[in-house]
Amino acid sequence: MKGTRAAQRYAKAILNIAIDQKASDAVFKDMEIISKTFIASDELMDVMASPVIKNELKRNSLREIFKNSHDITLGSFDVLLENNRIYLLKYVAQQYIQQYNTLNNIQIATVTTAIPLSPSLEEKIQDKIQELTGNSATIKNIVDPTIIGGFILRIGDLQYNASVAQNLNNLKREFKSNTYISKI
């Protein structure tokens, strides 16, 4: 991911200040809003990344769009603008969210299912998560019909794949590898 390293540094700095001033939760909410806004609006991303638009203009537009933000958040806009790194704002927000979650041991688990998740199933998955990682997590559900059935649970770097598509793929692979055909 381009610029991830720089974004990580900025996010870490913002997080540290927020913790010092006991405002990390407030800044977290701001960062979530910023992240969602950038994803929703391509225009905003383009404007921030454009080198021909003056910093003043960018500054004013950001302050206008995110006017209810905490002082720290507004301050971070200024720092990024000063260092000509405002195009990283989206990634900084994402990294802040990630680091905040890691700090407070909040795990986000992504569950991919073929049909939307029912509450009883969600409970079962929570149990599985508890079993695998020892912590609870908030579940984010993605509906993907191509897995046919079952579910794929992904927490950070761990993946528990209990989908029908995976089993069918394994079966396909077993039939495909044929050592009775000469390849030379």
Binding site: R5, N161, F175, K183, I184
Partner: protein, 526 residues
């Protein structure tokens, strides 16, 4: 082709499906950030280890070669067009390794150990041998004393190879490097027939598939495939497969070495492996050095060749060898050996280029093959003047050592005076002697392809040559003489040959050989 019963087909399918367990797997995963030119960069995989196998969706595997702060660089072992950006890659928790067992002899396999000769899966019990492994330490080794008979007169007489030695075969293209190694493999048949086989491994790196098929056919026709394994990473295989093919071969060789048996491995050729390694290093953005090779190309070859060793003949000490794989700890025996014959192709005879000098400094000697000699009819085109074996006489049986002792020197003297012979000027008797003897020795040392000589035959004919018993025979008829001489000895004096083979060279034996040679030589006098 016989009709296949539909009921049989259903039964087989049913067996496959019932044996198949539908199970969920918990894996550590990462996402593919970008993929191209055989290198995949993966985000995540925080616990991936260097050299570990990574599995992509669809079953393709890769080896981790770059561990960076925010991504992992993986070299893909297969057609990388199947991997998509954004797809999931998971750890296998397995450092790259190959499954080896008794059933691997006689098979043609690829770098990952899968058979490609169409004869079904590898039979019998297999053990997991790692591709990368530290060479045995000093304490577990022993000096080289047993000969590895190559069956080629020039080599066994003047640059002998011992079991556990590394002897480099170096020369330009089309000088007969592969032929020398194939003949060596063919010559091990007598040991296979006697029940103490020398297990051979032929690693084909970056060669045409047709060439590999041809070699497999030659070995099969001569009954040598039974004790040979061929590891093939052809020119169309990804560069990573070509880099790791010699390591796969070494892993197989180590299986035989550590279980107390002699093994021979031929790397054909290491120049192509270095080129493939250069390719993946440059794609991994590692800084290029001399001739654009990466800085660790010496280490690539040295750690490969150091694994060829003679293990001490003591089971207790051998069982404590460093880095012994868990899978074969219960099978370890001492006394085994792994002999390596790496091949290097030089460009226009330039042995002072980067890779040739590297490998020359690593190996225990080299066999030089020159185009000039090849073109003038001296085949095998071994340039004895610059070929060296640092093990030398220790790797020869007593009889051969005595007989071939002066041969190298005689040939050196001949070469010095060879120029005069071309002028045809009046020379004194002593000089003429040297020249005539030298010419006949050169004829004796010529040999056809795929025609290895047993050691007793070699000793007999070299004896005749070095005692100048061939003087009466015209140079063009020396080969005819040789054939007749050896045929006669094999028929009428088999006991003498057996004594030679056992290492004995008594006066009785020399008298017999001298008289037979003299009698036969008079026949050719004109």
């Amino acid at each position: 082709m016989a009709e296949v019963n539909p009921a049989e087909v259903s039964a087989i399918l049913k067996k496959q499906l019932s044996g198949f367990e539908s199970k969920a797997s918990l894996d550590e995963v990462g996402t593919v950030l970008n993929i191209g030119d055989g290198i995949a960069r993966i985000y995540g995989l925080a616990n991936a280890q260097y050299g570990e196998l990574i599995e992509f969706e669809g079953g393709l595997e890769g080896i981790v070669l770059n561990l960076e702060e925010d991504n992992v660089g993986v070299v893909v072992l297969g057609p990388f067009s199947e991997v998509k950006e954004g797809s999931v890659a998971k750890r296998t928790n397995r450092i790259a390794s190959i499954q080896v067992g008794e059933g691997i002899s006689g098979r043609v396999i690829d770098t990952l150990g899968s058979p490609i000769d169409g004869k079904g899966p590898i039979q019998g019990e297999t053990f997991q041998m790692p591709l990368e492994r530290k060479a045995p330490g000093v304490i577990y080794r022993e000096p080289v004393t047993e000969p590895l008979q190559t069956g080629i007169k020039a080599i066994d007489a003047m640059v002998p190879v011992g079991r556990g030695q590394r002897e480099l075969v170096i020369g330009d293209r089309q000088t007969g490097k592969t032929a020398v190694c194939i003949d060596t493999i063919l010559n091990q048949k007598e040991f296979y027939d006697a029940g103490e086989p020398v297990y051979c491994i032929y690693v084909a790196i970056g060669q045409k598939a047709s060439t590999v098929a041809g070699i497999a056919k030659v070995l099969e026709d001569r009954g040598a495939l039974a004790y040979t394994t061929i590891v093939a990473a052809n020119a169309s295989d990804p560069a990573a497969m070509q880099v790791y093919a010699p390591f796969a071969g070494a892993a197989i060789g180590e299986y035989f070495r550590d279980t107390g048996r002699p093994a021979l491995i031929v790397y054909d050729d290491l120049s192509k492996q270095a080129v493939a390694y250069r390719e993946i290093s440059l794609l991994l953005r590692r800084p290029p050095g001399r001739e654009a090779y990466p800085g660790d190309v010496f280490f690539l070859h040295s750690r490969l060749l150091e694994r060829a060793a003679k293990i001490i003949n003591n089971d207790n000490i051998a069982s404590q060898m460093n880095d012994l794989p868990e899978s074969i700890k219960h099978l370890v025996k001492g006394g085994g050996s792994l002999t390596a014959l790496p091949l290097i192709e030089t460009q226009a005879g330039d042995v002072s280029a980067y890779i040739p000098t590297n490998v020359i400094s690593i190996t225990d000697g080299q066999i030089f093959l020159t185009s000039d000699l090849f073109n003038s009819g001296v085949r095998p085109a071994i340039n004895v003047g610059i070929s060296v074996s640092r093990v030398g006489g220790n790797a020869q049986i007593k009889s051969m050592k005595k007989v071939a002792g002066t041969l190298k020197l005689d040939q050196a003297q001949y070469r010095e005076l060879e120029a005069f012979a071309k002028f045809g000027s009046d020379l004194d008797a002593a000089t003429m002697n040297v020249i005539e003897k030298g010419k006949r020795n050169v004829e004796i040392l010529k040999q056809s392809e795929n025609d290895p000589y047993p050691v007793e035959d070699q000793i007999a004919i070299i004896f005749a040559g070095s005692k100048n018993l061939l003087r009466p025979v015209p140079v063009e008829r020396v080969r005819e003489f040789e054939r007749e001489y050896l045929e006669y000895l094999n028929m009428k004096h088999r006991d003498v040959l057996d004594a030679l083979k056992a290492g004995k060279l008594t006066d009785e034996i020399t008298d017999t050989l001298t008289s037979v040679a003299k009698d036969l030589a008079t026949k050719y006098k004109n």
